[in-house]
């Protein structure tokens, strides 16, 4: 009996979706197909066997190669430049389960060593400091954004923002043609997923897809009430990423509630990029991720990058 073949045939596909700036339409289509097929998304290269690239950006290729090199076999890469043909996913699944196509390669350890030095910490002690980039390939992270952090333990001591591929802050054209409710639900889903409430994040995604289709978003009121009612969520998000004025005044919780109520905050990527370094400095990594998701910067690809 061919054990490897049998195991491969029963391997659940675990897609990891990487989005290039301007790839929102492809991302949304892929996320929808993944949910419909009951596949569980992977958060990291070690867990994935299906690297799905939504959109296209030449500058992203070196990053994708590193990710690809760190994905253990069996593995398949699927490129979805614009619209998703479901057959792409069927073919990928067949390739994943084909022992002949999966047999040959071996992965080598990827050079993934972060620069390290020492600096005084919050209490004035000298402590190791790592230079860790967040993005551009990171789950629930804005496409095209790279934040270079200095980390002491899990505390971000300093952060600088890079917009990869010299993109601009006008936002993905996909959303300008869509119902703003869909975009807000998209942002809600990302923030809820980062807050660890996967179940409600999936509900947000389903509602987003319904709104994009022009179908009645049954359950939108129930979802809104459910999330607003959660005392645990209130306790966990209150005070995170507090801003005193500007378009995002309030904290991660009030921004989430704003999306739920349809009152705001309006997308303002320029403001977000300008203020991220000061908002992230001194936060714990978990809070830094929540802050970025609650500002939801949306980058347009550059036309010459």
């Amino acid at each position: 009996m061919d054990v490897t073949g049998w195991l491969l045939r029963h391997t659940p596909p675990r897609p990891m979706v990487v989005t290039a700036p301007g790839g929102t339409s492809a991302r949304v289509a892929v996320e929808r197909a993944v949910l419909a097929r009951g596949w569980r998304p992977a958060l990291n290269p070690a867990r994935t066997n299906l690297l799905v690239v939504a959109g296209h950006a030449p500058w992203l290729e070196p990053y994708l190669r590193r990710v690809w090199d760190s994905i253990p076999a069996p593995r398949v890469r699927v490129d979805v430049p614009e619209a998703l043909d479901e057959r792409l996913l069927d073919d990928a699944l067949a390739a994943l389960r084909d022992p002949v196509r999966q047999r040959t390669h071996h992965t080598e350890p990827v050079e993934d060593v972060f620069m390290a030095d020492r600096a005084p910490d919050r209490d004035g002690l000298t402590l190791d400091e790592l230079h860790v980039p967040l993005g551009p390939v990171l789950a629930y992270w804005p496409a095209g954004l790279i934040v270079h952090t200095r980390l002491q333990g899990d505390v971000v001591t300093a952060a600088t923002v890079e917009v990869a591929g010299a993109g601009t802050a006008t936002g993905d054209a996909f959303w300008s043609g869509a119902d703003p409710v869909a975009r807000r639900l998209d942002a809600c889903g990302r923030l809820l997923a980062l807050a660890g409430w996967t179940d409600q994040a999936v509900v947000a995604q389903r509602l987003r897809d319904a709104v994009l289709d022009g179908r009645p978003a049954d359950g939108l009121a129930r979802f809104t009430a459910r999330v607003r009612r959660s005392r645990t969520l209130r306790w966990l998000l209150a005070g995170v990423g507090h801003v005193t004025d500007g378009p995002f005044a309030g904290d991660a919780l009030t921004r989430l509630y704003g999306w739920l109520d349809g009152t705001g905050p309006p997308p303002d990527t320029r403001w977000a990029l300008d203020h991220l370094p000061e908002l992230l400095a001194g936060t714990e990594l978990a809070n830094a991720r929540l802050v970025v998701a609650s500002l939801d910067p949306d980058l347009e690809p550059s036309h010459h990058g």
């Binding site: 029963h10 009951g38 070690a46 993934d112 860790v132 997923a193 660890g196 179940d199 969520l233 966990l236």
Partner: protein
């Protein structure tokens, strides 16, 4: 009341724990809002195992391979050993006179295991996940130890068999409700199960588990689920009267009660967002430590 099994009981125990762990994974997938259907949920644990068995083991540069890959083994062994003192009906693999202490000592090995899993691969996100588990341990462990002490106080013995016998009139869960609830919360914490899954959080791309693949990941995930099962199963003799119950045989009552506790824990994980220690530690130290101490005080006055 509780008697030790022959030597082969030690072989049956891991099989029972793994069966419960598989059922918990199936339930977890069944509760997913992706609604994959009953058949797919039941098949999910088996398929996950198949996928991990055929997956290449990942290597990272300058990893501490021994400690990293050893972490999963430590977790599995600790989780199984912890259950050695947990009775199934009237049978127990080993009815140690210090059963409660043994159980607690085995659980604490999880601290080392998860920290090593985070530290081993030489990766920033995994390392932060490891840090998070240490912080989590500091938050859940003290209240957890106080509630274990409370159950032992109620029976006047550290032997699990005596604790079961002391509940013949009234379950400890009824007259030590605070201890019971805090026990369940700390079980979720020690197994870093949702909503206490921050050490393996989505914001860290999987945290302490971020770099694990293949059989290494299989072993560590199995350890994590078996630890959750171990904790759920121990709630039965400590607080729910062990195998006591009408009509059904005592071993079946133990299984039913364990399944209910385990199901409730998995279900709770779907209802709540991830609890961050930065917020939880304050509640653990300012509310749970005094509350569990007060519970212990009340119990010791009652049994005086």
């Amino acid at each position: 009341m509780v008697e030790q099994t022959p030597w082969w009981g030690a072989l049956v125990l891991p099989a029972v724990l793994v069966a419960f762990a598989a059922a918990a994974v199936a339930l977890d997938r069944g509760l997913d809002p992706a609604r994959i259907g009953f058949g797919a949920a039941v098949a999910a644990p088996g398929r996950a195992v198949a996928g991990l068995l055929v997956q290449q083991r990942r290597r990272t540069l300058a990893a501490d391979g021994l400690l990293w890959r050893g972490a999963g083994v430590v977790l599995v062994v600790a989780a199984v050993l912890a259950s050695m003192v947990t009775p199934l009906g009237r049978w127990v693999v080993s009815d140690l006179s210090v059963g409660v202490v043994w159980f607690n000592a085995m659980e604490i090995m999880a601290w080392a295991a998860v920290w090593l899993a985070g530290w081993g691969p030489n990766s920033a996100f995994a390392l932060v996940g490891g840090y998070r588990f240490v912080a989590q341990g500091l938050a859940y462990e003290l209240p957890h130890m106080f509630v274990l002490t409370t159950a032992a106080l109620g029976a006047g013995s550290l032997r699990i068999g005596d604790i079961v016998a002391a509940q013949q009139g009234l379950w400890f869960a009824v007259w030590m409700p605070v201890a019971f609830v805090v026990y369940l919360v700390s079980v979720l914490g020690m197994a870093f199960a949702r909503p206490f899954d921050h050490p393996a959080g989505a914001d860290l791309a999987g945290g302490a588990l971020a770099e694990l693949s293949g059989v290494d990941r299989l072993v560590l995930s199995a350890g994590r689920w078996v630890l959750l099962v171990s904790g759920a199963a121990m709630a039965v003799p400590l607080f729910l009267g062990g195998g006591a119950g009408p009509l059904l045989p005592d071993w079946l009552w133990s299984l039913v009660k364990t399944a209910v506790v385990l199901g409730a824990l998995v279900w709770a994980g779907h209802r709540l967002p991830t609890v961050r220690m930065e917020r939880y530690a304050e509640i653990a130290w300012m509310v749970l430590v005094p509350a569990t101490l007060l519970q212990a005080l009340i119990v010791s006055l009652v049994v005086l």
